[in-house]
């Protein structure tokens, strides 16, 4: 039993993913690293938040954790075993244990099937529940996500955004997965509905002991729902810590800028760090630390050497020469 808790549910080791980009109609193709060496782990029942802006590679990472995008280097392990290849029978069988919820519920649902049919689909595909009992299970799932029984016969376009997302989540839960990867699941929803869905996800997760990887650009939501948070920049993790601590005392300059950029109702601008420049283009990766062109603390070493993700305090890691140097001098 203790063994079960020591093995991470999902583990990533040195994941790298590249794709080709062609310059113009006539140019050569250059390889671009969307994910540039990610190590992480998620224990059963835990929620890991992944935060980043466009170009950070967070969505690609989410797909790689599910085995949808194969890595060019490194590997993803589920329950200690390597992820099977995409579309093989083993991979398909694994779908029952890991599910994906993403931003646009309308795109995730089939327009021509009722939501009851769609929620019940995983039960049929993986043969989890004998046919006569399926209807009951679907009703159970619908009530768990807060959908009314009379909505079972509705089509996706007849429901509101929040209701559709609940249906997507119900479908994801049908196979009793152990892992839920959510990519911006509430970003398209109104604030009042966001709160409903976030609470619901939290409750379901606790009740069913599901691990969750919650990918979002919205720091406030991530802080509320995640136990630990990893901040990504240009394909790498730059800082990882518990959600209590990371936003209160961010160490990496990028995390500090991110936290600063969130407008707090009632508080004005003073003391904010406004980053200059644009989010980076993965096709045009800066040398050394990818963040150095925009970093207020950048020194020579930052231009030449890529900082590794190192432990800087109990349960905290950061990838920054300035941070590790400072921590080292404090410890000394």
């Amino acid at each position: 039993m203790s063994e079960h808790f020591k093995t991470p549910l999902i583990e990533a080791k040195g994941l790298v993913r590249t794709y080709e980009v062609r310059q113009g109609m006539f140019g050569r193709a250059t390889p671009v690293r969307a994910v540039d060496g990610i190590d992480l782990r998620v224990m059963p029942g835990e929620t890991l938040g992944i935060v980043g802006e466009s170009g950070s590679g967070k969505s690609t990472l989410g797909r790689m954790l599910l085995g949808i995008d194969p890595p060019q280097e490194g590997q993803a392990l589920f329950e200690g075993k390597p992820m099977p290849k995409l579309a093989t029978p083993e991979w398909r069988a694994l779908r029952a244990k890991m599910q994906f919820v993403y931003q646009d519920p309308l795109a995730a649902l089939d327009r021509r099937l009722t939501i009851a049919e769609q929620i019940g689909e995983p039960l049929a595909i993986h043969n989890l529940v004998p046919k006569p009992h399926r209807e009951t299970r679907v009703a159970e799932l619908m009530s768990a996500v807060g959908l009314r029984p009379d909505q079972a016969g509705r089509y996706p376009h007849e429901l509101s955004g929040g209701q559709r997302q609940r249906a997507v989540i119900a479908r994801a839960l049908a196979s009793r997965p152990k892992l839920l990867v959510c990519d911006e699941p509430v970003s398209a929803l109104d604030v009042s509905i966001q709160a409903q869905v976030v609470n619901m996800l939290r409750d379901l997760q606790e009740k069913n002991h599901i691990a969750m990887v919650f990918i979002s650009h919205d720091l406030k939501v991530v802080r509320n729902i995640a136990d630990r948070v990893a901040v990504m920049y240009l394909g790498r993790i730059v800082e990882e810590a518990s959600s209590d601590v990371i936003f209160k005392t961010p160490l990496h300059p990028y995390t500090k800028a991110l936290v600063s950029s969130v407008p707090v109702p009632g508080k004005l601008l003073q003391g904010r760090v406004i980053l200059q420049g644009e989010p980076p283009n993965p096709a045009n990766r800066p040398s050394g630390c990818a963040f150095h062109p925009r970093c207020p603390l950048a020194a020579d070493i930052c231009r030449t050497s890529v900082p590794q993700l190192l432990s800087v305090a109990d349960g905290r890691t950061a990838a920054c020469h300035m941070v590790t140097r400072a921590e080292a001098s404090v410890a000394a």
């Binding site: 955004g161 609470n199 707090v264 406004i274």
Partner: protein, 337 residues
């Protein structure tokens, strides 16, 4: 009395017979920054699209929109074309698709310069470069000849702002200008809007669902729900002491970056369909403070003792503490400037 820059009175909009805006009254003084806050379907964007005549033909618009005393609602095309861009400029939510993809960015700016300031050729180009510098586009000289797809989302929004400023408008309506952008870029754009306003003295309407962003840019805000303004007041008043249950609900529903990590308090239910509005207060089905009269009698937007406008039979929050402001009439705003 042409004290106010823009006055909206009883602005109503219907689409195909369905009423979506139920009579908006709003005064904007010169140089003022007002936030319009609400969720989807509340009518915050529709208000300004209707005021500028930018809604599609099947929309029925009624009421009054006065700019410096001149009525512009339902006026012939050339009247509206004289106001748009020159008196009131508008920027939109998705900057990347709000710029014409087949025209160069410089051309899109100089068009506005030609229409509103009669600038052409070299003079126009020089001014366009100045505007691009002003909004923080690096290397403007080279980039002025690029196409929109060669700019990032944040830069497109800066270009849009430059284009809006070209006409030297008195009022800038920013419709969710930062919603589609990355967090660090959002902060940059908000900063830019604040700086530009300080520099040019133009009034600003900031439409957003993000209360925090609104509080950075604006002095006062209106909260809208289901096509009506339900509460209006200074940022200070609203944020310290929200009195309408919906405003309160919005604040409770938003997770915080500071303070304890608590369970969120959502607003139950969903935004109503404009076709199926309840008889009394539109918010009553979702309101935890609703009483019998809320469901039957529509509340009216009226002034409170502490200088805000509120549309609620049973408001929450405390009555104003010491230092109550002087009694105000229905048109509150001049007292608070």
């Amino acid at each position: 009395m042409v004290k106010n820059l823009v006055e909206l009175r009883g602005l109503k909009v219907a689409f195909d017979g369905v009423q979506v805006l139920h009579g908006i009254d709003l005064d904007i003084a010169r140089g003022e920054a007002i936030g319009l806050v609400g969720e989807s379907g509340c009518g915050k964007s529709v208000t300004w699209l209707a005021a500028l005549g930018l809604l599609p033909g099947k929309a029925t618009v009624s009421g009054s929109v006065r700019v410096d005393g001149q009525e512009i609602l339902a006026q012939p095309r050339h009247v509206l074309e004289g106001v748009r861009g020159k008196r009131i400029a508008m920027i939109f939510q998705d900057p990347s698709s709000s710029l014409n993809p087949v025209l160069r960015v410089g051309r899109q700016i100089t068009e506005a310069l030609a229409i509103h300031r009669g600038l052409h050729g070299e003079a126009a180009k020089a001014e366009a470069l100045r505007l691009l510098d002003m909004v923080g586009i690096p290397d403007a000289r080279r980039r002025i000849d690029l196409f929109p797809h060669e700019f990032s989302g944040g830069q497109c929004q800066r270009v849009m702002i430059a284009m809006a400023l070209a006409g030297e408008p008195d009022l800038l309506v920013a419709d969710e200008p930062t919603t589609a952008l990355d967090a660090t870029i959002q902060a940059q754009i908000l900063d830019l809007l604040i700086a530009l306003r300080a520099e040019t003295g133009m009034a600003t309407i900031f439409i957003s669902h993000d209360l925090g962003a609104v509080s950075q840019v604006c002095e006062r805000a209106c909260v809208m729900y289901a096509g009506r303004i339900v509460e209006q007041g200074t940022i200070q008043a609203l944020f310290d002491n929200p009195r309408h249950p919906y405003t309160r609900g919005l604040f409770d529903a938003i997770p915080r970056l500071d303070g304890p990590r608590e369970r969120l308090i959502p607003i139950p239910g969903t935004v109503p369909n404009p076709r199926d509005l309840p008889e009394g207060c539109a918010f009553s089905p979702r309101c935890s403070h609703a009483a019998i009269d809320c469901r039957t009698r529509m509340p009216v937007l009226s002034a409170t003792d502490d200088g805000r406008l509120l549309s609620c039979h049973h408001p929450v929050g405390s009555h104003p503490p010491i230092g109550v402001t002087h009694p105000v009439g229905a048109r509150v705003l001049e007292a608070l400037s």
